[in-house]
């Protein structure tokens, strides 16, 4: 039986997917792209968006084939109880890995932009509070909260208008200078910034109206792509590719460029806008991990055990997020996260193929 607090409408799928996608990748994506292909980064993003759209179709097709179950139950169905459980635990490990890295990155960004001296453990324990709170109450509330994110993204985009007078179109020209082959090759790198759609495999049964899932997920992906293209084009046109290469978080550097008439520095407010955005990204991964553990150990309706689990999980996330030694190691791990998620999507593809064999077996059994 599905908990009512987890039930979401198909419109909320849009919010959920955007929420899972936009967050950390975009902060440093422009400079990575500038390093790779100069000023044509935005074209690569458009390509990456298209690839992602294809993968989304694949995932939704797989989920549709199995009906009303999550990846955990799909594992059990295909591989049997024991091997399936191992695969499920691997999937959960992936989610936890993503949560931990994001948590750490969030922490580092705060330390970089506002609080240099606060002990990291204290800071992490503090910023995780709203995440625990919303995860405890369920998916419905997470999606409601994430609606805020859509508004914030629009505000961030509007902020760019303030800086339009410094925007130089010549920085983006000549369009396509890097060459088609290179752009397509590089477009697999921003592709990792689009991760988030794969969470659909964990929340699929909670969606009430499944007809519009594919459409809304694709819309969400399109929304993300448009936001990314605008951001990268803006950053390239503002800083120029040479300058862009040297910046760690160009989105924040952009914020510092604006001089407001009364307030000395508006950038802190702008950066503050990003904190709720990042929280909701961590939130989606955190919830999926927590909820999947509940399903695997079959304690969905046990409040006492769920409470114990959420505390243990939180403590684990906080402690694990201290493991990466420094920012360089963290960035390497973050890059690897992209590969892991790609591998996960590949695994879903395998599941899709296996589903035909399984179905075939069943048919054989019936005919026999």
């Amino acid at each position: 039986m599905i908990n009512k607090a987890n039930e979401i409408s198909s419109n909320q799928v849009f919010i959920f997917v955007v929420s899972a996608q936009v967050g950390f990748g975009i902060l440093s994506m422009a400079s990575t792209l500038a390093d790779d292909i100069g000023h044509d980064g935005w074209i690569a993003i458009a390509f990456a968006g298209m690839i992602t759209a294809l993968l989304i179709c694949l995932i939704v097709a797989t989920l549709k084939r199995f009906g009303n179950i999550t990846i955990i139950e799909i594992n059990n169905l295909i591989f049997g109880k024991y091997i399936g459980r191992i695969f499920s635990l691997l999937a959960i490990a992936y989610l936890t890995y993503a949560t931990v890295l994001m948590m750490r990155k969030f922490n580092d960004i705060i330390r970089l932009s506002a609080l240099r001296l606060t002990p990291p453990l204290v800071l992490t324990s503090f910023i995780i509070i709203p995440i625990i709170y919303l995860s405890w109450y369920g998916l419905k509330y997470i999606c409601r909260y994430s609606t805020l994110k859509i508004f914030l993204i629009i505000i961030v985009t509007l902020y760019y208008i303030l800086l339009m007078k410094y925007f130089r179109f010549t920085f983006l020209q000549p369009i396509g200078a890097a060459g088609a082959a290179k752009i397509i090759k590089v477009s697999f790198s921003p592709f990792t910034s689009f991760i988030g759609y794969e969470l659909l495999t964990f929340i699929y049964p909670y969606i009430k109206d499944k007809k519009k899932v594919l459409r809304n997920t694709l819309y969400a992906n399109a929304f993300t792509v448009v936001f990314y293209i605008i951001t990268v084009a803006m950053l390239t046109g503002f800083f120029g590719e040479v300058m862009l290469k040297q910046l760690l978080y160009p989105v924040f550097s952009l914020a510092r460029a604006y001089r407001a008439p009364v307030v000395e520095r508006l950038d802190l407010f702008f950066i503050s806008l990003w904190f709720p955005i990042m929280i909701s990204t961590v939130l989606t991964y955190y919830f999926c991990a927590y909820n999947s553990i509940k399903i695997v150990f079959n304690i969905e309706n046990n409040k006492q055990k769920s409470k114990l689990l959420i505390w243990c999980f939180t403590i684990a996330v906080i402690l694990l997020s201290r493991l990466p030694k420094d920012m360089i190691q963290l960035n390497t791990l973050f890059d690897q996260l992209g590969y892991v998620s790609t591998a996960y999507v590949g695994y879903i593809f395998i599941c899709y193929l296996l589903s035909f064999i399984k179905r075939g077996n069943k048919k054989n059994e019936k005919s026999a």
């Binding site: 705060i110 506002a114 609080l115 606060t118 800071l123 503090f126 910023i127 509070i129 709203p130 709170y133 919303l134 109450y137 509330y141 409601r144 909260y145 609606t147 805020l148 009364v262 307030v263 000395e264 520095r265 802190l268 503050s272 904190f275 709720p276 929280i279």
Partner: protein
């Protein structure tokens, strides 16, 4: 113990005397009918109109023979009274007597007459004291539930205004009324509310606030679950949105449910003036909400951590004034804010003649004297004063209190984590508001989850012509206002 009356008057009196032992206010008067049959009149002194009893009931009773009192079918009695009932259960009779009715027992009959000649001492309908309005009606509910219901009936002259009566308080036996408009209010919500109220087990209900706390969905929250109003016009306007009103005997407030966070920021004056003015007032209030919550916290965060955000011209006088203060900003703000809250709380409960002198004392603390003494800086006084004014903008008393206390939590975290503390507290507050539900309806409704029709009446107040649709919060059956729709629905 037997529950039915017996034919012998003495037996009945024996039971009643035992029940009403040491109740000197319950008068038992023995009279003789025309044929000499003894009868007893029982009533509560102070709840019954003695004039009417002496003038109309007793003389007529004495003129009758015992056989003439009741008609042939034992349906009614030959007494000039507007409302009466015939009862044969002792418990029902006792409850009637305690509610102010007069009971007449006649020897030879196992049935008693319960007459309604009630006259309760009550306060006159007066001006609202908590929810003041510039335009609109200047009347407020009173303590008597009957008067309150009559006020509502006077405002809604329609048989669709339905009132369900029930009794609450295991000991005090108070009347509670659940008021709604049939055809607009959603029957599901009415039933839920009715069942919730019926289930209440408590000895006495002294205010509608008791009911709220006993039936609230989420027990761990500082936010009010339901709206309170002492204004009949506001109550009626909520009834027209499909909400329910709960009245309790003894409380001059109506409880209105379900409620959304934003309905605490709406006042009737917004609707009675022109819409541009009403919209500006709304915006002012929303700004007030944000300032009341975050202004002192932002001050603390910026002064303690992010001083580079302050323009240089302002930074110098700020630094000068801060240099004389020995405390960190959080202590400084806490001193002033706590004093202000004490002052506010003290003025509510003090007799008016002392309250005036309190104002003078308060002016000293939150003023130049405190600055001269070197306890606080100049700017913080302005910050605290502006915050106080902003918090007084919130029209709903409960909500204003909650916001005022929540501010302290935000301030504490701002002192520890700077602007991050403010942001995370804001996010947590938002999460909490999103999780909250009032009668199963999302508390933060028109915003998260978003509803376009309701949203336009949140930050702004569109013209009445554009507010044809009722808010969807209470899921009204009749979705549009106005007559054309009314005809269709019939």
């Amino acid at each position: 113990m037997q529950n039915l009356l017996s034919k012998k008057l003495e037996d009945n009196m024996f039971i009643l005397n035992e029940k009403f032992l040491e109740c000197p206010d319950i008068k038992r008067q023995r009279v003789l009918l025309k044929d000499g049959t003894p009868a007893v009149i029982i009533y509560v002194e102070g709840l019954t109109s003695i004039d009417l009893l002496q003038r109309d009931i007793i003389p007529n009773l004495l003129r009758l023979e015992s056989a003439q009192v009741f008609d042939e079918n034992m349906q009614t009695v030959r007494l000039p009274v507007a409302s009466l009932s015939l009862l044969n259960e002792i418990d029902a009779l006792i409850s009637d007597i305690l509610n102010g009715k007069t009971a007449v027992f006649i020897n030879g009959y196992d049935i008693a007459i319960s007459l309604s000649v009630i006259k309760v001492e009550k306060r006159n309908i007066s001006e609202p004291t908590i929810e003041k309005n510039v335009k609109g009606a200047q009347e407020a509910f009173v303590e008597s539930i009957n008067t309150n219901i009559s006020i509502l009936r006077r405002k809604v002259k329609n048989n669709r205004l339905k009132i369900r009566l029930l009794t609450l308080g295991d000991l005090t036996n108070q009347t509670v009324a659940l008021v709604y408009i049939e055809g607009i209010a959603n029957p599901e919500i009415v039933e839920t509310m009715y069942n919730k109220i019926v289930d209440i087990q408590y000895d006495g209900i002294f205010d509608v606030g008791y009911i709220e706390q006993l039936i609230a969905d989420n027990q761990i929250t500082p936010f009010p679950h339901y709206l309170y109003s002492e204004r009949p016009d506001k109550t009626v306007s909520c009834l027209l949105e499909g909400k329910l009103a709960v009245l309790v005997d003894g409380s001059p407030f109506a409880m209105l449910a379900p409620m959304s966070f934003f309905s605490a920021f709406q006042a009737l004056d917004d609707y009675s003036t022109s819409w541009p003015v009403g919209s500006l007032t709304r915006l002012l209030r929303m700004l007030g909400l944000l300032m009341a919550l975050f202004l002192p916290a932002l001050y603390i965060a910026i002064v303690s951590y992010h001083y580079y955000m302050i323009p240089l011209n302002l930074l110098i006088p700020l630094a000068e004034s801060r240099a004389r203060v020995p405390f960190p900003p959080i202590i400084e703000v806490l001193i002033l804010e706590t004093t202000l809250e004490m002052l506010r709380e003290a003025t509510i409960r003090l007799p008016t003649f002392i309250a005036t002198s309190l104002g003078v004392v308060g002016g000293l603390i939150i003023g130049q004297a405190a600055v001269d003494a070197g306890i606080v800086s100049n700017i913080i006084i302005i910050v605290v004063a502006v915050t106080a004014i902003a918090s007084f903008l919130i029209p709903n008393h409960d909500m204003a209190l909650t916001i005022r206390y929540t501010r302290f939590i935000v301030m504490l975290f701002a002192a520890i984590f700077g602007i991050i503390g403010v942001v995370i507290c804001g996010v947590f507050l938002l999460s909490h508001l999103i999780v909250l539900e009032s009668m199963g309806e999302p508390y933060f409704k028109p915003v998260f989850p978003f509803n376009r029709n309701d949203f336009k009446d949140i930050m702004l107040r569109p013209s009445l012509k554009r507010l044809r649709k009722r808010p969807t919060l209470a899921h009204p059956l009749d979705k549009t206002r106005g007559k054309t729709n009314d005809k269709q629905s019939k």
